[in-house]
């Protein structure tokens, strides 16, 4: 009797084990998102923030029961910020893991490599961070979408800021320092293009191209001091911005020239790393700010991120968060994650309400370029210790309308034909 009972139990267990995966398959419908964020090296903090924020969005959506009967599932592999390696992982995502979306990427170099994979495999690639305008203009392809500002938008805002400044604090000469790769060169060309477009007269007195992740900027700084530019445009990002600012401060560079870094200079890690050392009055911006706009949605987003991770987010986080929301919204509309063409249609022109949207504006994806269209705010560094360890945050905001920052047709068309 006892024997029979135990046999029955074993049989039941075996049956349960055999059936479990089938049941799981039958119940769990999943939207698979294959992310590639760097988790090592200097860009590691951007990758870490992105993954944390994307997971936060996934948890929120799954917590409400998912979308159209599907749960979201995010997988991430360290991209090592290397294009060839990332291409290999992306192909594995598509062939073996059967992902529905490619996702992420900090470096524009990796972004440019992955958009080719996306095009060949007709697999939607949601770009959340990398900013090179080429992805939505020169190298545009229908399966790529970007949900954070590109450098053109940032530089148009920067040019408008400099144009307004002409009224109060006339300036004539300008110098540039930026990393010697696509991202650095794009910013400089786009800033000049926009200044010309807005009819600003200026003279370039110096151009400097340190290599990305260069540890030492001192010789560049002393040379910039010799140029005596009224305005110094800076295209460095992350640890490079930090190192440049730290090395330039004791030279008094920021008292002698107006420092303006409109794309990535105002990212939170610059403030959190330099603390009280960060000079006041630098003109900076970023693709998301922890203290602007002061809407409930933004405050709520920043608080949630802080609660989850114990630190305040860099802008990379909001891009990743947005990417997940966009995917959820598209799947909701189409009803499944498999109909790629319908998903592309759903993403084109999609309106999506985000933490960074000020009162009365909703971000949307431009159907022509697949680039998200957003308001940009430029601020100057002011004392503010509400987001420790930062002792400075941006303030005295100037706000630029989203539509004013888009590349005009004359800019896009000749570049697409090439």
């Amino acid at each position: 009797m006892v024997k029979h009972k135990s046999v029955a139990v074993i049989l039941m267990v075996v049956l349960a084990m055999a059936l479990a995966p089938i049941c799981a398959l039958a119940q769990e419908k999943v939207v698979k998102i294959g992310a590639l964020y760097p988790m090592t090296g200097r860009a590691g903090i951007y990758g870490l923030d992105s993954v944390d924020a994307a997971e936060m969005a996934v948890e929120e959506i799954n917590g409400k029961g998912g979308v159209a009967g599907y749960k979201l599932e995010l997988i991430n592999t360290d991209s090592k910020a290397k294009p060839d390696y990332s291409v290999m992982v992306a192909k594995r995502y598509i062939d073996q893991d059967k992902v529905h979306f490619l996702f992420g990427v900090v470096s524009s170099a990796v972004g440019l490599a992955l958009t080719e994979v996306s095009k060949q495999n007709k697999k939607i690639f949601i770009g959340t961070d990398h900013a090179s305008t080429q992805l939505t203009v020169d190298k545009f392809q229908p399966y790529y979408f970007r949900v954070s500002n590109n450098t053109f938008q940032s530089m148009a805002a920067g040019a408008l800021y400099l144009k307004e400044m002409m009224q109060t604090k006339p300036w004539q000469t300008m110098a540039y320092i930026g990393p010697d790769y696509a991202y650095g060169h794009d910013q400089w060309n786009e800033l000049k293009y926009n200044l010309d477009r807005f009819g600003i007269k200026y003279k370039v007195v110096g151009e400097y191209w340190p290599k990305l992740f260069a540890p030492e900027y001192t010789p560049f700084i002393t040379s910039i001091l010799k140029d005596k530019p009224d305005v110094l445009i800076c295209g460095l990002w992350g640890g490079d911005s930090v190192a440049f600012i730290k090395q330039a401060t004791p030279y008094g560079l920021f008292e002698k020239t107006l420092f303006c870094s409109p794309d990535a200079g105002g990212n939170y890690e610059v403030m959190s790393t330099t603390g009280a050392e960060l000079p006041l009055g630098l003109v900076l911006s970023a693709r998301h700010h922890n203290n602007w706009p002061e809407t409930p949605a933004n405050k709520d987003y920043v608080a949630k991120f802080f609660k989850k991770t114990g630190r305040y987010p860099t802008y990379a986080a909001e891009g990743a968060y947005t990417g997940i929301l966009a995917i959820a919204q598209a799947v909701e509309k189409v009803g499944n994650p498999n109909d790629t063409e319908a998903l592309v249609k759903a993403l084109e022109g999609m309106k999506i309400s985000l933490p960074e949207d000020p009162e009365g504006f909703t971000s949307y994806i431009d159907p022509e370029t697949h680039q998200i269209v957003q308001v940009q705010a430029i601020g100057v560094t002011v004392a503010n210790d509400q987001f420790p360890p930062a002792k400075r945050m941006l303030g005295n905001w100037k706000i630029y309308k989203a539509e004013d920052l888009l590349p005009p047709k004359e800019y896009i068309e000749p570049r697409r034909k090439k």
Binding site: M39, T40, G41, R42, G44, I45, G47, L48, D180, G206, E207, Y208, W209, P210, K211, F213, A214, P215, E216, T218, P219, F220, I221, T222, S223, L225, K226, G238, G239, D240, V242, A243, K246, Q247, P250, Y251, G252, E269, S272, T273, T274, G275, E277, R311
Partner: protein, 295 residues
């Protein structure tokens, strides 16, 4: 270009050169004495920066104590790495290949270790009290901390010269570069010498990292950024040559400083051009007769 500007640019080149030298000197020392090319030398530089951060910001020591702690910490870890791992491959037929693999794996291990302990966020150190300002030289501004770094670099050169030429320890180190078997036959503990030299070299790396920390961003991966430039310095100066490292760093620092003004578009390339020219015309490096190897 007026005189005062040339002087300022010379000084900024010199600041760059000194930090380069402090990293490269350790690299060249290990190569000269132990015939080991330590790919992970930059990682000890990075460790030094993090240890200084730990001491100064978390334990609230003053900056100079933190710098000493960083050098000691990097030195001890270097000795552990040498005695536990590198020692096992000395003298093997495949030693060169194993060296590259082993020291490269140190980079990955140290990078991940740093990430686990300190996270991926950038860390930062304040310049030491008393060296936060700047002085006017011929009407141009130069930060006092940069001048201090230049001075410290010179002091290291002098001390190293005294140790290498005037002390028994220095003579043993130079001799072990030349003939380890003979040295061993004469009763010198060669393995211990190697471990100590490795420790001194990594301590120099850690010291450089700590000194550079207030000027740079302390991040995982910072080691990779300095190793290539250090390698260029060592190649220009002559592999394994201590004075060569100093000369190589000076050349690289000043060439970069003036390339930035004269050919800004090509400033980055120029240092490689100098290395290539050296390799073509004097492949053994500018200092071909190593004082380390000359007994």
């Amino acid at each position: 270009m007026d005189l005062s500007f040339i002087l300022v640019q010379l000084l900024s080149g010199l600041t760059m050169a000194t930090l380069l030298f402090l990293v490269a000197s350790g690299l060249t020392l290990i190569f000269g004495v132990g015939n080991v090319f330590n790919f992970a030398h930059g990682s000890f530089y990075m460790l030094g920066a993090y240890l200084a951060y730990q001491a100064a910001t978390v334990w609230h020591t003053d900056f100079w104590t933190a710098t000493v702690a960083a050098a000691l910490g990097a030195g001890v870890l270097g000795m552990l790495a040498e005695s536990l791992f590198l020692r096992r491959i000395y003298g093997r037929a495949e030693e060169a290949g194993f060296q590259i693999l082993l020291t490269y794996s140190f980079i990955l291990v140290i990078d991940d270790m740093v990430k686990i302990i300190w996270g991926t966020e950038y860390k930062s150190l304040l310049r030491p009290a008393g060296l936060r300002g700047s002085v006017q030289i011929l009407g141009e501004t130069t930060p006092t901390y940069n001048l201090a770094i230049i001075g410290i670099g010179l002091a290291v050169v002098v001390v190293a010269w005294l140790v290498l030429t005037r002390t028994r320890a220095g003579k043993v180190a130079r001799a072990s570069a030349l003939d380890r078997e003979m040295l061993s036959a004469m009763g010198v503990n060669v393995p211990l010498t190697m471990t100590l030299v490795f420790g001194i070299a990594t301590a120099l790396g850690g010291f450089a990292g700590a000194l550079a920390a207030p000027l740079r961003s302390v991040t995982p991966g910072a080691g990779i950024e300095v190793i290539i430039d250090s390698l260029i310095v060592v190649v220009i100066g002559g592999m394994g040559n201590f004075w060569g490292a100093w000369l190589g760093a000076l050349i690289l620092g000043e060439v970069t400083a003036f390339a930035v003004i004269l050919v800004p578009e090509w400033a980055v390339v120029v240092s490689y051009v100098v290395m290539v020219l050296t390799l073509i015309f004097k492949p053994e490096g500018l200092f071909s007769h190593s004082p380390l190897r000359k007994v």
